[in-house]
Symmetry: C2
């Protein structure tokens, strides 16, 4: 029995897409009353804080349809079914940036929107980067532009709200903390 557990009385599956699934759960609350929960199921994702030998942060700019604007983010992508997050991280780094890495360290994993979605992002630090010959191409509906910036420039992009997403803001703050702890 989990604390405040909400027992599922009924699940109605409303949509199954390529990225997300939507379901409505009727739940029994801890006080015996009932309520409804709107739930987005997501396969999970990885994000990669990749540092070049010159200590630049590798970023990608891409159009994000939900916001109708371009955002600058660290490379990221969805897990394929059954795929280990480390494998996704190496693949997405190569596809989106053309880099391969000598070393991949797990930084943290977190849910992005626990109120309505189960998306879990695994964040990695990639070092020992080098450009790969003939890297795998990005998905055919993916258009990204590579940007490499110093930590100071990245902090400026956060201030300008060009960097404007949780995983990238976390990754930059992580580097700031490492610098401050030196």
């Amino acid at each position: 029995m989990h604390k405040f557990e909400e027992k599922t009385i009924h699940t109605e599956k409303l949509f199954e897409g390529k990225v997300v699934r939507l379901q409505i759960d009727d739940v029994e609350l801890p006080n015996g009353k009932t309520s409804k929960r709107e739930i987005i199921k997501h396969p999970g994702a990885v994000a990669v804080l990749a540092l070049t030998p010159e200590n630049k942060i590798v970023l990608v700019e891409q159009y994000r349809k939900p916001m109708e604007r371009a955002l600058v983010e660290i490379p990221a992508g969805k897990l394929e079914p059954g795929e280990k997050p480390e494998v996704t991280a190496v693949r997405e780094l190569e596809e989106e940036t053309g880099y391969e890495c000598n070393r991949l360290d797990h930084i943290i994993s977190f849910y992005t929107s626990p109120g309505f979605a189960d998306e879990l992002i695994h964040l990695y630090l990639a070092t020992g980067l080098r450009k790969k010959e003939n890297p795998r191409a990005a998905d055919e509906d993916e258009f990204v532009e590579l940007i490499e910036v110093s930590l100071e420039e990245a902090i400026q992009l956060v201030k300008e709200q060009k960097i404007f997403d949780a995983k990238t803001a976390y990754a930059i703050q992580y580097l700031q903390l490492k610098e401050a702890q030196k």
Copy 2:
């Protein structure tokens, strides 16, 4: 014209709930081809890093149905239509913790899942806390337990994956960075 803009050819609205809306956009890509985008629309939210006079972090534990487990998070909640984020922050802090604050400072705003959702979270630092007499009650389907921890204890909760969400992990790292920069 935005970079890599994806022009909407058609929008199909599939679901309108109390928390989220789901739509599928047919888009024209920069290369003239077409694709589909699954998009979750969300009203936006606030999260509050609240520090007691004893410098403890105010956390709430609650059951999160999408993950089928309880998570420990900083107080947070959705924006009501037309509500200013600062007002939501004060209201959610009171409802979930019984505290009011003398001072509210904006830390950062970020999208949580820009690949499929437009949820924007505004993160605030609340200080000068005091317990309010007769605080507003939480929503009737909301069951939360208050926890107050030191920064060191919060870092431990992250390691144990009891704290396991982006906004709370960001907030704790923010405090770590402030401490390290002292």
